[in-house]
């Protein structure tokens, strides 16, 4: 005896009950969703409370102005009672420059600072290739920080010059981001010159080597083909770099002397050293890693064998061993009388080290690509390098971003290992020197916390950028 039923009015939606809303719902779902979860929540809260109760007073009692550790302690004792502990940040206040610059001469500090700012200008078109707004914001912020930090270091006219330069670059980064790629191309040479100083003509002639390469290629390739052109161009450039370039630089320098005071490599230290090694190794190891990954997949026996041996050898040897090699063995093998710079040697070995790891990460990315992508590229008539550059690598690198960035972060932190070959790294080198000072003898946590904080900022920055990049490149819409 069922009756036909038709609903006349459609019911309006109602708000969910309290237990399904806001804070209560969130806590129920995330913190107390079962008895095990509830117990864990309580335990975690207790642990956080315990740790905070240990650290917070120490951090809050921190002293920023004092001449020595003893003075710090007495200030804390008078303010918070004789038993109170407290951080003595005064050591950072007094010696921060050594953590940053090592023994780099104070009158030349403006050079690494300017160099560091230009690094971001050079990175802007690479990092934000399709987003001029973000690129301009980054260059603008860097410019402001640069000018503020140079204020106490350089005369007014130099400051005005810097402001003009950075304003120009900021403007350029917004209107024509890709033009900044020129800054990126010149940056390696400019950077070496700014950091080490010496005659400007050395780096200029090094750049001219690439001009020689292109010139020889242009002349040769129409007649003898692309491969011969490339090979001879490379040989010509090497001859230029090894012999002619330095002669030419010396000649020009004697006519038009222009340069900065030379700074020896052993004055480099602290984060300046970590960034020099980190940035150069990171930027060179990525292309080498790509080539090694491709070499490992090559059909050509010799290339494949060489790549595999190199990768496996490097991965089988600890970084420390390679660094000792850099400092000792290379000196034996190289012809006597040369003074191959220690920092340069370390950069080369750290680069090769991380290139091998990158190669394996990128190989993973290559393996993740379906075979159909190669076939489609082939079927359309793209040649090997076109297919790699336009189809395969963009996708393989996208998959490899988290792994590659992990390698980079690891590399950056591993730069502290250079203390084992006598370079002044920020973690062990500089802290040891600071703690050897009578005034700060016995200080322990504060320098390490400071160094850790800077490392954290750099590494966290890289990690966030990689997440931004992954999001931006996500086009598969799965």
């Amino acid at each position: 005896m069922s009756e036909a039923y038709v609903r006349g009015a459609i019911l309006p939606p109602l708000a969910p009950p309290v237990s399904e809303r806001g804070v209560v719902k969130w806590m129920r779902e995330n913190l107390f969703s079962g008895w095990l979860n509830s117990v864990l929540t309580v335990l975690a809260v207790l642990a956080v409370y315990y740790i905070a109760s240990l650290c917070l007073p120490w951090l809050l009692h921190g002293v920023w102005n004092a001449g020595s550790l003893g003075e710090c302690r007495s200030i804390i004792a008078t303010n918070y009672g004789p038993d109170a502990g407290g951080a003595c940040w005064a050591v950072i206040h007094a010696r921060w420059y050594q953590f940053i610059f090592g023994f780099y001469p104070i009158e030349a500090w403006w050079r690494p600072i300017l160099d560091f700012a230009l690094l971001f200008v050079a990175l802007a078109p690479v990092l934000f290739s399709d987003n001029p707004r973000k690129a301009a914001i980054m260059v603008g912020v860097v410019s402001v920080i640069l000018v503020l930090s140079l204020m106490a270091l350089v005369p007014w006219w130099a400051l005005l010059l810097t402001i003009a330069l950075m304003a120009g670059l900021s403007f350029l980064s917004y209107t024509a981001t890709s033009k900044l790629l020129w800054v990126a191309a010149v940056y390696p040479f400019l950077s070496v010159w700014l950091l080490w100083g010496g005659s400007v003509w050395g780096p200029v002639m090094a750049m001219a080597g690439f001009g020689v390469m292109v010139l020889v290629y242009r002349v040769i390739s129409p007649g003898l083909g692309v491969i011969m052109g490339t090979a001879l161009g490379f040989v010509a450039a090497c001859i230029w770099w090894l012999f002619l370039g330095s002669l030419a630089a010396a000649a020009i320098q004697s006519v038009v002397p222009f340069g900065l005071t030379y700074v020896e490599s052993d004055r480099f230290g602290g984060f300046l050293l970590a960034f020099v090694i980190g940035v150069s190794s990171i930027s060179i190891s990525l292309p080498i890693g790509v080539m090694l990954a491709l070499g490992r997949q090559s059909n050509m026996f010799l290339i494949r064998t060489l790549s595999v041996s190199f990768i496996e050898f490097v991965r089988g040897v600890p970084l420390i061993t390679m660094l000792f090699t850099a400092s000792l063995l290379l000196q034996y093998f190289l012809p006597p009388g040369n003074n191959f710079d220690l920092i340069l040697r370390v950069v080369i070995l750290v680069t090769l080290f991380s290139a091998a790891y990158n190669a394996e990460v990128i190989r993973g990315g290559l393996a993740a690509l379906p075979k159909g992508q190669y076939e489609a590229a082939d079927a359309l008539g793209l040649d090997y390098w076109q297919a790699q550059r336009l189809i395969i690598m963009p996708q393989a690198l996208k998959v490899s971003i988290p792994g590659v960035v992990s390698t980079f972060i690891g590399l950056f932190k591993d730069t502290t290992l250079v203390s084992f070959v006598g370079l002044l790294d920020p973690l062990r080198g500089v802290t040891t020197i600071v703690r050897a000072d009578l005034a700060w003898k016995g200080i322990y946590w504060e320098p390490y916390i400071f160094v850790a904080a800077i490392f954290f900022i750099a590494c966290f920055g890289m990690s966030r950028y990689s997440m931004y990049l992954e999001g931006k490149l996500k086009t598969d819409h799965r």
């Binding site: 159909g372 079927a379 076109q386």
Partner: protein
């Protein structure tokens, strides 16, 4: 053929010539003594049981697979290990795959313009105009700025066809273009292919869509165990198969 459009004329110019071709995968003899001639304007359907070597055969025509014996001449160019010839043939032979193989990191428009710009050195603007022309032809111009992952299977396959057409190929190869599609999308892809056939494109299609074969093919080739077992014009082939294996195969796919 009675229902052939007037343009669907077969010329007496040879497009593809395969003579005494053999191929092995290791010790497995996958293609055996293949002889076949395709005239310009011909539309050939290749069918046969799974694993019979259909894909391998058409992939040999643009050298995605290498043959070990015999001769393959495409558009007057013999396929040897000479890379120049291979690139020349590949830019004149379009291929459509079962799984579309669009480039997922590029937009539809970029997928279509990539090869013309880099292989044919066409200016970007011109390449984009061509791309839009072919996208309208496959009836999805409005999707130009989306990524492949945002399109349905049928739309992706039509993009893949348009991508090949942008290279202005003289021959088109299709390897089971509708096998990965849901039933309601098969028709839109077949319609595109039929239209292409009516414009006189030389086509080699591996497919089991017998309706398509009857509508546009002027020859059906049946393969089994790496050999061409039987070939005939569609009406004869379906109504009056000669070989026992063909009869068995037809009874299986036609379901009676």
């Amino acid at each position: 053929m009675a229902n052939a459009a007037p343009q669907m004329k077969v010329t007496d110019e040879v497009a593809v010539q395969i003579t005494a071709m053999n191929k092995w995968y290791g010790t497995f003899h996958v293609l055996r003594d293949i002889n076949m001639t395709v005239m310009r304007g011909e539309r050939i359907v290749i069918c046969g049981p799974s694993g019979s070597g259909k894909s391998t055969l058409i992939r040999c025509i643009n050298r995605l697979e290498e043959h070990q014996q015999g001769q393959i001449i495409v558009d007057g160019t013999e396929l040897t290990s000479d890379l120049k010839n291979i690139d020349k043939v590949r830019s004149e032979v379009g291929m459509v795959f079962q799984h579309f193989n669009l480039f997922p990191h590029l937009t539809i428009l970029e997928n279509l313009t990539l090869a013309p710009i880099w292989v044919r050195k066409v200016p970007k603007k011109e390449a984009e105009e061509t791309a839009m022309y072919f996208l309208s032809k496959v009836k999805i111009p409005e999707q130009a700025h989306k990524y492949p992952g945002q399109l349905s299977g049928g739309q992706q396959q039509r993009v893949a066809i348009a991508r090949s057409l942008c290279m202005r190929p003289r021959i088109m190869l299709f390897d089971e273009p509708t096998s990965a599609l849901d039933p309601e999308m098969i028709k839109e892809v077949l319609d595109t292919m039929i239209e292409l056939a009516q414009e006189g494109m030389t086509m080699l299609c591996v497919t089991h869509e017998m309706g398509f074969a009857q509508a546009v093919a002027n020859r059906v080739i049946f393969m089994d165990q790496g050999q061409i077992v039987e070939q005939n014009e569609p009406k004869e082939f379906f109504n009056n198969p000669k070989s026992e294996r063909t009869k068995l195969f037809l009874s299986q796919i036609l379901g009676h």
